[in-house]
């Protein structure tokens, strides 16, 4: 019989090294699904993330991931202050859209001071403003069978220059605090934070908050997106698709 003492004294290090091999096991991944199920069942699907007062904001909000996409296409858009940028909304929608920043700004707006929680452990608080994603999706009209909303971004990663992508389900897409932010701390979104437009999906970790959003796609399945796990970091490094935990 294996005792804890035996494990620790004689085989602790070996055991832990051996565990590396089990890291991608289906049992552990099923546990992630269990967390999503439990959290939504217990806390509720429409529960709101914390909102803060202006003086509770971080003095300095650090950036993460891409600080500047720095591709010729992006630089051209930035040089013109994104006047030529258009948000494409397509996939399984009744009416594909092409929206300018001015159009997004003229839609009903939501402003919120929320805490951004990075998967690494740090948090920063800032103010975000933009139309609710729900407004944009209603304008386009989702077809029957849509289950996920995918965000295609302008920043590229690695030697293969894979553009960033992320996805959320309709629970989060229609959540009242899920917005397409063009403004941060009462100024147009800076390049470091995802100009001209980023997703805010406040009840999930930072990597879900896609920056530099170029195109929104409504899909029935994530199978055709990247390697099928629903996001860049999910596909590359095995991060959870549901990042509410």
């Amino acid at each position: 019989m294996i005792t804890r003492r035996g494990l620790i004294v004689s085989g602790g290090a070996t055991l832990l090294a051996g565990c590396d091999a089990w890291t991608g096991s289906p049992l552990l991944l099923d546990a992630d699904e269990a967390h999503r199920y439990l959290q939504r069942a217990v806390v509720g699907r429409g529960a709101l993330a914390a909102e803060f007062r202006p003086e509770q904001r971080s003095p300095r909000f650090r950036t993460n991931g891409t600080n500047n996409p720095n591709t010729p296409e992006y630089n051209a858009l930035a040089a013109n202050r994104f006047a030529d940028w258009r948000l494409q909304v397509g996939g399984m929608v009744r009416q594909p859209l092409s929206l300018s920043l001015a159009q997004l700004r003229s839609m009903p707006q939501r402003a919120q001071i929320t805490r951004h929680d990075c998967v690494e452990g740090w948090s920063a608080i800032g103010k975000w403003q933009g139309p609710r994603l729900e407004e944009v999706l209603r304008l386009a009209g989702l077809q029957d069978g849509v289950r996920y909303i995918v965000f295609h971004c302008a920043d590229v990663f690695g030697q293969r220059r894979i553009p960033y992508y992320e996805s959320i389900d309709l629970v989060d897409a229609f959540h009242p605090q899920t917005i397409l932010a063009w403004s941060m701390n009462d100024a147009p979104l800076g390049v470091g934070h995802g100009a001209p437009l980023r997703l805010r999906v406040e009840r999930q970790l930072g990597y879900k908050h896609a920056k530099y959003v170029m195109r929104i796609e409504a899909v029935a399945s994530l199978a055709g997106i990247g390697r099928g796990k629903g996001g860049f970091w999910e596909d590359i490094a095995g991060y959870e698709w549901y990042a509410g935990i």
Binding site: L16, T23, G24, Q39, V119, S123, A237
Partner: protein, 230 residues
Amino acid sequence: MQVYRHRLITRLWHWLNALAVLVMIPSGLMIFNAHPRLYWGNYGANFDHAWLKLPQWPGWLTLPSTYDLAGARHWHLAFALVLAFSLLVYLPWSLLNRHIQRDLRIRGAELAPAHLAQDLEAHWQLRFHDPADPKAYNIFQKASYAGVLFILLPLLIFTGLALAPGMWPWLADMFGGRQSARSLHFIAMALLSLFTVVHLTLVILAGPVNEVRSMITGWWKAPEDMGEAA
């Protein structure tokens, strides 16, 4: 003299909890390596004041052993379910079967300075059991087991839950903000690690075969059978 010391539910919980702790501390240290700084309050990142900055934990202490934040989170979150649900079953069960009231309740007389000094002296002489009632836990055992069961483990679970962005906001508020919850999570982990080291040391000093066997089968050999060593 053989004594039936640990009931099945206690033994089951003990090993499930031991397994969860054995996985969650190393995977937690790997998660910590992703941002080895701690803060107080709602926010905290590189430009903010950190009350604790540590170097990265070495690979032999982390799970996985090489940098893998996503993998560590899979381990940590899977065994969090084991830790939390086994405690959720064990605590009320132990109230119903009166294990808590009978074995862990601290009586006033045990806290008298003279009694504490006497028990401490007995510990130094490696005498851990009251000859009149060898099955009973001594005051230091009661205090440390109660501290782990009622303070450290619940604190670890609730501060851990408070870190989840999808959780109720009031949970993080209860601890003074998400970064405070993260700091308390780390402090509670450090105290639980300290408990584990002391616990294992005392198991070895008290007679490891007898102690471990009693936590597996329930049956424990009382000190008079253990000859002079007792």
